[in-house]
Symmetry: C2
Subunit: 489 residues, 2 copies
Amino acid sequence: MMRSGQVADAVRYAAAHRRRFVTELCDFVRFPSVSADPAHGGDVRRCAEWLAAHLRALGMPHVGVMETGGPPLVLAAWRRAGPHTPTLLVYGHYDVQPADPRDGWHSPPFKPVVRAGAVYGRGACDDKGQLFAHVKAIEAWLNTAGVLPVNVLCVFEGEEEVGSERLRAFLRSHGGRLAVDAAAISDTMMRGRGQPAIAHAVRGQLSFELEVRGPASDVHSGNFGGAVPNPLDALCRIIASLWDARGRIAVADFYDRVRPVSAASRAYMARVGPVDADVRRAARVPAGSGESGYSLYERMTIRPALTVNGVSGGYAGVGPKAVIPARAAAKLSVRLVPEQDPREVDRLIRRHLARVVPRTVRVTMRTSSGVAAAEIDPRHPVVRAASVACEQAYGVAPVFLRIGGTIPVVSTLQRDLGIPTVLMGFALPDDGIHGPNEKFEIDNFGKAIDTCVRFLAEAGSLRTAHRRPGQDRSSRVRPPVVAASEVTT
Amino acid sequence: MMRSGQVADAVRYAAAHRRRFVTELCDFVRFPSVSADPAHGGDVRRCAEWLAAHLRALGMPHVGVMETGGPPLVLAAWRRAGPHTPTLLVYGHYDVQPADPRDGWHSPPFKPVVRAGAVYGRGACDDKGQLFAHVKAIEAWLNTAGVLPVNVLCVFEGEEEVGSERLRAFLRSHGGRLAVDAAAISDTMMRGRGQPAIAHAVRGQLSFELEVRGPASDVHSGNFGGAVPNPLDALCRIIASLWDARGRIAVADFYDRVRPVSAASRAYMARVGPVDADVRRAARVPAGSGESGYSLYERMTIRPALTVNGVSGGYAGVGPKAVIPARAAAKLSVRLVPEQDPREVDRLIRRHLARVVPRTVRVTMRTSSGVAAAEIDPRHPVVRAASVACEQAYGVAPVFLRIGGTIPVVSTLQRDLGIPTVLMGFALPDDGIHGPNEKFEIDNFGKAIDTCVRFLAEAGSLRTAHRRPGQDRSSRVRPPVVAASEVTT
């Protein structure tokens, strides 16, 4: 157990250096590390190298940039706390969402600026800022106590925004040898400004593209209009067929595995979660939408959702153009709840398409990624450790929230490897993640670092659970199973 | 009446100079005179100035570039045939369709090339090449006989592709003073290679854009998916609502004014017009689509059609992006048949939208242009003159075709001003107008010039019909009414 004086020293160090930390975060945000676009492959790599160099400079002894065939993994290990102290995997992602459309940004997305107490830029919050809070907490410990209170393995990936396929494959094949007791991820939302939250559920995801082809090339819509199949009409009709009039997904058997959430759990959600007005305010919409019988918070967490993320086809320039386009395309994603298998949902959607696609066009469905949902037992010691750290840093106990988004690695850590994972997120609902003018507020950045400093200390007092080399497999203390439990308090 | 020797001289001149004419056409096509895009305003103007200079250089005495507040009109008059010879308005448009998408083009759209006996480039056929056939016919006359066989007023506009609003306003306010007996337009299709056609019907058009707005800015589709209205879903559902399951337009009262075409007229269409396989081949589609009970040729001419010309919204880059976009937009156009009033159809669509748009999004409909359909009596003398010219040049009598497209000025000339108008088009069904790799075949260009040379002579023998200055209004010989007659031969 660390002495509280050491914690206080590290917290003071972080506060004293916050100004420099902000400058460094801006350097980090400056890389347009957009994993979705191969044209940014060089930026993604340079960002990884910058991060590795930064970790080396602050004293992490073992830092590597690991090739994956795609965006590299940045790994950093500090294991000097000895075999009787647990090992914490700190996960983050240095890749970011595309910044398009650019016209909504008040300052260029990859020229970060500090304005009104916040760093603005793509990735400032999701996830560079949150990842960096852990990095700076490590720095604070190393520059005060000279040691960390827990063994740490940093795993920073560069393709979270496109499904984490390579990291998940790496973890599935090497995860058992990592000797990790718990994992911490900061890539989720707080309840509000100054109101910490720990996420105990993330939805899964299936992402796919539809391409519809009609004429071999674009044709004149005056001359041929009414007689030639239009891939745009067909695509719109296919998309429209995906919901019924009540806002439910109209793909046959889609809800078969969707499990109702207990009344106690829904009551807890209603007590601590955002009310409809909060959701509308965060999304900046005058009205919510979706499946009746559920609050907006429930619709975006305990219910699956199908979203069209983009449609393109035909003429999108200024003015009219009389054309029937040769092709039209859409990007869609389904958010899944526990028990829904992304592969099965993929099959159901393909079966639906086979039924609704008109014979006059050809449709191709390309699946980009599939990730199962995950749930975390809020009673697990590592979650309690995070809860204590949050309360110390923010002065308020965190609430437990369900998150509508997906962090692909969570299901791999939790479900595949049995590594208890705590989601201790620092994004504010209005931080604009995935939208224009993404920001990370500096005061919140400071509190996030404070939380991470304290969490390292708390994690150091957890019991070790993983198998040591030479330890008998049968005597291994497994972490509790954390699959489908419910928050009831 | 011109001596046939003069016609033969002009025809020979055109044949002898065809190579230079092709080079000049390439110069004409090189201007990216895209009227839809204000960014090309300078190119449109430079193209107009080039055309005016060209007309001056070949000896037209009165050439002007007339300001309209938009793309200028190029006007050129030759009235030396005297008041007892009729005046022919030669119409063409020097603006072109956008060349997007660029990736389908084998050579850049605005770097015209001669390949396999054709000029390739945006506008090579629609309408620069066809307009230029008239210009070169005028040159052939002026450089052989030294005079034209008919008074000529060239009216070349620069916004046909966006609805001809300014030209139509100009004609409505000045048309009476133009003292024109007939108009000739070459901007339509032939029946096939070597098979001339005169168009006797064009559809009208209503172009509009829909914009759907949801969240004030893009939001995360994981965090909010299922609870926040998505303008893309809404737009797709709105578009899907525009047709019923049988392929008919589902806007209430839409067909109220659609008049059935006579059995005799349909029989003529079946005899001379393209069969379904021709249409499929021209559009390069494996199957047609649309309203049952009509041939493809009928669906694209005597029936109205609603076409989606473009949809955009959300992420269209490489890879996935988890976003619910703030806005989505579509460009649509309706092709109208006679008796359908574009303003009334506009109202019907707005009423439909009011009924189907979900309350969770805001939709704006912006009408770009509305043009009524037009029909031309194939028995009118000016049509017969064109028919004779076509037969002489091609060695085959033309057929009378209905055209699915719209030439906005036709309804203004025919219906508003009572100027009989002949549509003597030279586009081949596979010339790729409005699509990539638009071309104009050089052999066909030659025959088109030949036709125009002969047509000027034929037009010179028509009776004058318009009111002369000083002539009593009551004694004015009006052209025959040419509204709704049918082809019965």
